[in-house]
């Protein structure tokens, strides 16, 4: 593997604004090679968006404590001063959001927002920036791109807005694209179009993508590798194919079992993981998944659990991996 473009090492994020500190991200390490797409999946509150925002240092600095190291293109993000940071945001790494209607400024046209971003990072004229904005709109296949540039966000449909958001993110030719649940707010057919567009752009432009989602289907569609998060930790990481075929962490197993699949009998109930995720302000001792795990024994309820290597580029954070291999065989 070539040296990674994005490298996260032992990232910890604790929010200290409330009455009790909330440990949102705990010991997360993740690498993304140039041109590679990695999906970070997990349920709400598992820390996937916080991890992504940490890459841009967008978590509120006064109310959070951040440990670990984040390197992007060989530069230490945590060590950047204000000026370097804002030059890095949008130019080296860009972000697309879940709900573009909320993430775009409602009182500026899309063209103006793209032009503003380009001119923030590059010394070019307004006309040149506008020409590039038009190119981008055509690149993400927005119909009648020229007139759409003068639209306000509320004048577009959801799918169109997300395309515009992608165009905006790509406006300064970033090498790393951070996508925070970019298809969650869209309806199913539009979801697929946006996923295919992302995949195509990634291949054509050689983008590294960190893709956060709770939709395993979407993750498989876009990502080369998948990392599963639970209670602020990455519990399993593997290539998309390995993760689907031979999941090794009980949580991943449970997630895969809870999906609807072709072999299901009509009317059958989906399998669900019993219990609820732990309170991040009051994490249990030991493995955070132990209270819900069908394989947990006494040893799982005390002490931390380290990442175990289970195969080439496949690792899982579980003490009882010898049992999960068998359990995976039973899975559909």
């Amino acid at each position: 593997m070539t040296s990674p473009y994005l490298s996260i090492r032992n990232l910890g994020v604790t929010f200290t604004g409330g009455t009790r500190p909330v440990r949102a991200v705990n010991d997360v390490s993740l690498d993304i090679a140039p041109g590679e797409a990695v999906a970070l999946i997990g349920e709400s509150g598992s820390g996937k968006s916080v991890t992504m925002r940490a890459v841009m240092r967008l978590n509120p600095e006064g109310r959070s404590r951040i440990e670990g190291r984040i390197m992007v293109g060989g530069r230490d993000v945590m060590a950047m001063d204000r000026r370097t940071l804002s030059a890095y945001r949008g130019a080296d790494a860009a972000m697309i959001f879940q709900e573009p209607l909320l993430a775009l400024d409602p009182v500026y046209t899309l063209g103006d927002q793209i032009i503003e971003t380009i001119r923030r990072h590059e010394p070019i004229t307004r006309d040149a920036a506008r020409a590039r904005a038009l190119e981008l709109f055509e690149r993400v296949r927005i119909p009648s791109a020229r007139s759409r540039l003068d639209n306000y966000p509320h004048e577009m449909s959801g799918g169109m807005r997300q395309r515009a958001m992608i165009a905006l993110a790509l406006s300064c030719r970033p090498k790393l694209l951070l996508a925070d649940e970019p298809t969650t707010a869209l309806d199913a057919t539009v979801q697929m179009q946006v996923l295919l567009l992302l995949r195509e752009l990634q291949r054509d432009l050689g983008l590294s993508i960190l893709f956060v989602t709770h939709d395993i289907g979407a993750a498989i569609e876009v990502a080369d590798r998948i990392a599963v998060m639970y209670a602020g930790q990455i519990v399993e990481e593997a290539s998309a194919r390995d993760l689907i075929r031979s999941p090794r962490h009980p949580y991943t197993l449970g997630l895969l079992k809870s999906r609807a699949h072709d072999a299901m009998v009509k009317g059958a109930r989906l399998d669900a993981i019993p219990g609820a995720p732990p309170d991040l302000a009051n994490l249990p001792d030991g493995c955070p998944f132990a209270p819900r795990c069908f394989l947990a024994d006494e040893g799982c309820r005390s002490g931390g659990v380290a990442m175990q290597v289970v195969g080439p580029a496949h690792q899982a954070r579980c003490r009882r991996l010898e049992l999960t291999a068998a359990a995976a065989q039973d899975a559909p």
Partner: protein, 316 residues
């Protein structure tokens, strides 16, 4: 934009008609005979009757209203009963004085209020916010006539820096733009500015902290905008509402400054209304209220059009 403006102007016509009806009715519902103030106590019934006919008070209300309205539309608001002068002239001079004072007060209030509001909103719940919010609450709740008197005591009576009353030297009834007249304006304008200052500060604080909590602000930072760049976006998002509040405040100050104008003997609409009410000068009262209401409607129109120019979501 133009179509919206034209439609908005047409929509004000029924409002104006309603305003004129209400303003006419209000004055006639109030008890008391308007002629009592100019008639000698021992006037004969015959004289009373002749004056009543002369002023048109003997006709039906509908007739009086239509007559008054048609004259008003030609710019003739009648003759003041108390002074015998043209109401239009009296009202326009007073409106000019009040408009001058209220505009200056609103500008001061808007600048200070926005400043306090932005600082408080940006540093919500910090000591800076507490101080700025306290200033805003002070502005909204302090009795303005009291503040006016305190300022007069300090700056006129004790220090002798500024004149205490009037619009200009020698009881000048007409404000003009020169240094002498300006010094007469300082105290009343500052007193008056405290009202819009407090309200605008509170509005802007709420607006700014609400805007800053929205996701697009994170979106702007993620694009690499500097804090100054983000600030400009916040300003543009806050501007429509802040301007609307400012316009409405100016409207209130135009008619609602009776206390301050009385404290400072400022020859504006407040003083005029005050004397018209006490003298039961119906034509003057009607005329003043109508002109003030017109200003209010026009101000609202301007605010609406400006808002739609600034916020694309309002148009359509």
């Amino acid at each position: 934009m133009l179509a919206y403006t034209i439609r908005r102007i047409i929509l004000t016509l029924p409002v104006l008609l309603g305003v004129s009806v209400v303003c006419f009715a209000l004055v006639h519902i109030s008890p008391g005979d308007p002629l009592i103030s100019i008639l000698p106590a021992d006037a004969s019934v015959d004289l009373q009757e002749r004056l009543r006919v002369l002023y048109g008070f003997d006709r039906s209300y509908a007739e009086q209203f239509l007559l008054w309205l048609s004259r008003a539309m030609q710019g003739d608001l009648g003759t003041s009963i108390a002074t015998g002068r043209s109401v239009t002239t009296e009202v326009m001079r007073a409106v000019g004085n009040t408009l001058m004072l209220a505009s200056v007060a609103t500008v001061i209030g808007f600048v200070l209020g926005s400043l306090f509001g932005f600082v408080a909103g940006y540093f919500a719940n910090s000591p800076v916010d507490k101080a700025a919010s306290a200033a805003a609450v002070f502005g909204v709740s302090v009795p303005h006539y009291w503040l006016g008197m305190v300022l007069v005591i300090i700056f006129s009576a004790q220090l002798g820096w500024l004149p205490a009353a009037g619009a200009g030297p020698g009881g000048s009834g007409q404000w003009r733009l020169d240094l002498e007249h300006l010094s007469y304006m300082i105290l009343p304008a500052i007193t008056m500015s405290v009202i819009p200052m407090g309200i605008i500060a509170r509005t802007v604080r709420a607006l700014v902290s609400e805007i800053l909590a929205q996701e697009f602000v994170i979106g702007l930072r993620a694009r690499g905008l500097s804090e100054w760049g983000v600030f400009l976006h916040v300003v543009k998002n806050a501007a429509p509402t802040a301007l609307a509040v400012m316009g409405i405040q100016l409207g209130y100050l135009l008619g609602g400054s009776i206390l301050i104008e009385t404290v400072f003997s400022w020859p504006g609409t407040g003083m005029l209304l005050n004397s018209a009410i006490f003298q039961r000068d119906l034509p003057l009262l009607q005329g003043t209220i109508l002109v003030l209401a017109l200003f209010f409607v026009v101000l609202n129109l301007i605010v609406d059009v400006m808002q739609s120019a600034l916020d694309p979501r309002i148009k359509r």
